[in-house]
Symmetry: C2
Subunit: 402 residues, 2 copies
């Protein structure tokens, strides 16, 4: 144990991102649930107070122009863009991830055109993507087929219109091969829609570089936007004129205040907007994005891998052999920014961990999930989490099979 | 002028709702734009600060259960329900009005079933409803026909699946006959979807009493929820089992944390949920609804009509005859809570008015729109608004035709 502890001190001392922890409100718990809800950036409460008291309370309706409310969806989108490898003008913020999945999948099917009537969906997807893809399929007259990401290349065909994939598996933390899978989808003449919920802000995505067609993601995990903060939609620039939204709300109109009966879509990413943007949450998110000032995603990725490597090592040291099974791939190229450990009594173990100040989460039926947010998690946190986990499972003894 | 001024004093002194003004943050402007963005309730900043600093910042992920985040959409829905005449369990809050229009119209078409393939939409609707209804029609294989609300009874037929109507016309302030039109829609075997954006919180709606099938509305006008606060969806209790959402996100699943690949809809209003709720905005709205404590909608309606009556009288006294034309119906049964005045130079007139502390809004090409929120607008405000309007138009002289 002492060897790991001295290593912790060296790792934390050498961490180029150690300073960003001060940008967040943290306490003495080890918070490894930033892949569910990111911690509060320290300056967000003041920013929100200004939005509420001054922008809404004093300026009221004038804030739509004077406080930049009206253009916030695309402005905040441009703040997210560099984090997912997108040039400006391709990301718009608003609605939930589920609603953006719907827009993206229906739009992809429409781009694919006649004769392509099948949608492939990641068989291990976070459930909402599957439910919404099924609805999109039903409404566009397509068949829906669930396929493991690795099997996608073999499943693609002349009928494939769109493929909806998760960049990182929410349960296991597995990172899928976005460049290769996107290329395979394109080779089949289909459109790739990526869900970045568990990758954006944790690792390089490279949307532009890899020619991704459409992407969606939430902002309350590694982007720390706050509970239920609005999601985003990426539409590659050269596809924007063909982006035919199934939710053509007035905010996506070329001239929204013209109040015309006929719909003419706006140009650019704005076309992905729907209704009036949710200003409180959107501007809380905008403020939250300030924590990325001076931070390179490559550095975040390097630290993320170091953290998860170190966690797996500590788990190996502190836990009885075979007590938990890691579901997270060992190769870096296949790992996101989380570690998922399976054990029969995961629900009880997580309760005990939280009671001792180590917060991860439990995913039924048997998974302990630990998310590592490099901007505020350090190596001492990682060591402590594994050590407390070791204590908990040792005290509990062998679990009864679930 | 002095006669109106002494009447103002009597009217304000006798106003049973005069005390609710203190529940809002107001200044010395006359704010007649609450039909666009409601004023800030005084206790909302403190409530939002608690959500941000304590619930998010300290409790973090625990707030999903401990701070009641997870159940907020239906809990806040039940707070709105009495304001629109709905028993509990039928209103759920989330997403924008546009997105809820989409859910409601597609669900209505599916309820109507085979053989009914036409959607009627209010020809004078706020544009987003028309755009979204067109999308819903396209995706469900229906035709869409725009019909003036008064012509709806004659337009209904055996093919009609759903009818989407605005309760109050956003531009003119005309109140449509919800009971009679709903009855006509039902007599034709179709489903009625009402948009309550400009009526909820300003006048009795009576959703349950009049047997409305589905309804949607925003919360940032007369409900004072804040800029872009989430909208709501009403699904009549006996239709909920047949509510087949086109946006079946994981929050509408019977067992959302079961994370199952197959979709099983939840029972009740929860079925109208989609993705993760936008907590900051949703809880700001929840706090904002406290201003309704002890307030009867009937009293709000009585004051609203007294305010608009008095405004029209003052306009008649203070403005040169024929300088403006009122688009708002004189009969109370046809009037919402706003007055729309048409004049060729409306854009310039509104700028001048705002410069003199009277805030309404301008709707292209030639409409001055004044909204009257009985909870914080008094008769002195009304008199002053008309008086300043009289000064502005008198100084400007006869407008050049637009």
């Amino acid at each position: 144990m002492s060897e790991l502890l001295s290593e912790v001190r060296e790792l934390d001392a050498a961490d180029p991102l150690a300073g960003t922890r001060e940008r967040f409100v943290l306490d003495d718990t080890v918070y490894l649930d930033g892949n569910s809800l990111g911690a509060l950036p320290a300056h967000v409460p003041g920013a929100v107070e200004d939005v509420v008291r001054r922008q809404w309370g004093e300026l009221r309706i004038r804030s739509w122009t004077e406080s930049g409310w009206w253009t916030a969806p695309e402005r905040v989108g441009d703040r997210i863009a560099p984090l997912v490898g997108a040039a400006p003008g391709q990301v718009v913020v608003g609605d939930s991830t589920s609603v953006n999945v719907f827009k993206a999948v229906v739009a992809a099917v429409r781009m694919a055109g006649e004769g392509r009537d099948e949608i492939l969906v990641d068989a291990s997807t976070f459930p909402t993507d599957g439910y919404v893809a099924e609805s999109a399929a039903r409404l566009t007259g397509c068949a829906l087929r669930a396929v493991a990401p690795a099997e996608v290349p073999a499943a693609l065909g002349a009928r494939t219109a769109a493929v909806l994939l998760n960049h990182v598996d929410y349960r296991t933390g597995r990172l899928h091969d976005l460049p290769a899978l996107t290329a395979a989808v394109h080779a089949a003449g289909a459109y790739a829609v990526w869900d970045l919920c568990h990758s954006a802000g944790a690792l390089p995505v490279g949307l532009d570089r890899h020619g991704v067609d459409l992407a969606v993601g939430c902002t309350y995990k590694y982007l720390n936007g706050g509970p239920g903060s609005p999601a985003y939609l990426y539409v590659r620039r050269d596809l924007q004129d063909r982006f035919d939204s199934p939710l053509p709300g007035w905010n996506s109109h070329a001239e929204p205040f013209g109040m015309t009966a006929g719909y003419t879509p706006a140009a650019g990413a704005v076309r992905g907007r729907v209704g009036t943007p949710d200003i409180l949450s959107l501007l809380a998110l905008e403020a939250a994005l300030d924590v990325w000032e001076g931070v390179e995603v490559a550095a975040v990725r390097a630290k993320s891998l170091a953290l998860t490597d170190f966690f797996l090592r500590c788990v190996g040291e502190y836990l009885p052999a075979g007590r938990v099974e890691s579901l997270t791939p060992v190769p870096h190229a296949e790992r996101g920014s989380q570690v998922a450990l399976r054990c029969a009594d995961a629900g009880e173990v997580m309760k005990a961990l939280i009671g001792r100040g180590v917060v991860g989460d439990f995913r039924a039926p048997d998974v302990l999930r630990f998310g590592f947010t490099p901007l505020y998690v350090g190596f001492a946190d990682v060591e402590r989490a594994a050590r407390v986990l070791g204590e908990v499972v040792t005290e509990r003894g062998c679990p009864h099979p679930a």
